[in-house]
Symmetry: C2
């Protein structure tokens, strides 16, 4: 029935005839899907930057006045369960898009909210989620400007799915992208990793660990804007969601074609999170976060950037975890472990924790 | 677990303890959900306009330069089946958001694309849908600037759900909204109604009617921009999606607090669509369209507006179907039937055709 039936699918049917859960995991298979299906079908210059959001130049498309550039981003949220220690799908749907805008260097202004509800969802649950979204939006300085609601039959959805798209405005003419990363850049991490993934999993599976592990879900625009307003020469930022720190580093190394060296001992992981990961067989560098980011800055600005980050409670534990050691080669991330051994890390392959965002 | 548990839900649990399919039908229950849950929880001035999209003034939020106003809109698409005569979920997801931007008086520029895929979806199906989206975007003059993909387990979704959010720019300082509608306005309809709903239903249920009924799904920006660039004093526009022409008229009458009189004989319905509606027990004024809109203009500009619309193939059958007969009263829509009788019409109540968009 489609006019496109004749154009053959660029993902070889022999390797993946069907979508598997790992296609949504944020790791290698998600990247294949983006490159082979979506880039091929949509092919827009904005997608080519391979960033968390697009930077739009509205004025180049017909306006006579020079306008500030805008950031535009979207994410759908399918986290299970809907409520978890430290957050819920509503606050997560706000923080996620606010953070993607911040990673573009933008001040978040407006969100859209698209709901896909499953028949039979308790009205009270929808109300609690909507209230939480509204509170998170006010706390993040954004307004929900437009929305949409669809309902699917029981068994065709899973309670609530939310999509938020966000619009923000760039205050400075920074070009934050993997392509701006340079040899010698320091890599700053805003805090301890792994809490969001473990908090969601423990709520889902009814696991209880020695201490109560809360999600790190939080809006990152404030510390990011402090960095930007300080006039620092930031090269790239990325929040550490699906696929965790490890996947984010590999994504940037590959897109920038640089070699990255990271010192594992410098990566903060709370003892209870480390313990939970050992029990579950997870590597914390691949566990999802929703309030953590990495930032690439020239080495000579690293100490000032850290001082600024540490002055904000959301990045109080910020530290330098490594640097870009050489450029002009195939992207590579080398991790020096606690015992001094080095290993090359790859993007998350397969699926570690489905539906954590 | 949520901090909001104490704030009681504004939809009385006695009336609707749970979400039902009709909450997504675009009629009375959808409106209750928006007013009681989402407006209460989000409460932003942009939502107060009760329009298909929001008009954003970026410059009032900190920029020194006067910027053109932007339109921002979102819609999720859950149509079943994914492919139907005259379109598919991919082209629909482009046309829907392009049309919502056009209804705000904006030239559509950029779309986001958020996919929620069900495990087991054939890769070939995703490819066909993505290709169709890409083609529809190019044909509509918009670029897909940013995207996201999530995967849910088999039985927790239904093949493909798509969310698109759109950004457009207003070329003129029109205030298109129900509140701009005035007594004496003519109501123009861009073409025949009911084809999209019947086309989707026939594909879903395997019905075959005497002739092949194709969806009217199409991008409306071109004829709308022709109206706007002609300098006409347009008061309000709305595309006739879920809930159809009837619901759109009642929505505007209620929001504008005006009385609307429509002549049923002037509403074009194709003979095969009328026949299908009679067999199925549907009233065509409530059947969904995806390429039709109504436009409120001062009576003295109606004839010029019609000439402009008719010069575009997408609105070749445009005609005047009624007018705003008085203001300052409770919103009311009166339909004069073919036999001269009048009836008051309400928004669609219950659910006529679930998941047609």
């Amino acid at each position: 029935m489609s006019p496109n039936e004749g154009i053959s699918c660029p993902v070889p049917i022999s390797s993946y005839p069907q979508i598997v859960v790992a296609h949504g995991g944020g790791g290698r298979l998600t990247h294949q899907l983006i490159e082979k299906i979506f880039m091929a079908a949509f092919g827009s210059p904005e997608l080519e930057t391979r960033h968390d959001g697009a930077v739009l130049d509205i004025s180049e498309r017909g306006s006579p006045n020079r306008m500030p550039r805008l950031a535009f981003t979207t994410d759908s949220y399918v986290v299970r369960p809907l409520f978890f220690p430290g957050g819920d799908i509503g606050s997560l749907a706000v923080h996620g898009s606010v953070n993607d805008l911040a990673m573009c260097g933008a001040r978040p202004l407006f969100l859209s909210a698209g709901f896909i509800l499953e028949e039979g969802l308790p009205m009270e649950t929808l109300w609690r989620v909507a209230l939480s979204m509204g509170e998170a939006a006010r706390a993040s300085g954004v307004r929900v400007a437009t929305g949409d609601t669809k309902v699917v039959e029981k068994g065709k959805g899973d309670g609530i799915f939310i999509n938020t798209a966000g619009i923000g405005v760039l205050e400075r003419d920074l070009r934050l992208a993997p392509s701006s990363v340079r040899e010698g850049d320091a890599i700053l991490l805003s805090g301890d990793i792994g809490r969001h993934g473990i908090a969601v999993l423990s709520a889902r599976e009814g696991l209880s660990f020695e201490s109560d592990i809360q999600s790190d879900s939080a809006p990152l625009a404030r510390p990011v804007l402090e960095l930007i307003r300080a006039g620092l020469d930031i090269h790239c930022m990325r929040d550490l969601t699906r696929g965790g720190l490890g996947t984010a580093l590999v994504e940037i190394a590959e897109a920038a074609r640089v070699r990255i060296a990271v010192d594992e001992t410098s990566i903060p992981v709370r003892e209870d999170v480390q313990g939970a990961c050992e029990i579950l067989g997870f590597d914390p560098i691949y566990v999802a976060n929703e309030g953590r980011f990495i930032c690439f800055v020239p080495e000579k600005e690293a100490s000032r950037a850290l001082d600024i980050l540490k002055s904000d409670p959301l990045a109080a534990e910020a530290r330098s975890i490594g640097r870009v050691t050489s450029s002009h080669e195939r992207g590579l991330v080398v991790l020096r472990s606690q015992v001094g051994a080095t290993r090359i890390i790859d993007m998350l392959t397969g699926e570690q924790l489905p539906r954590i965002c």
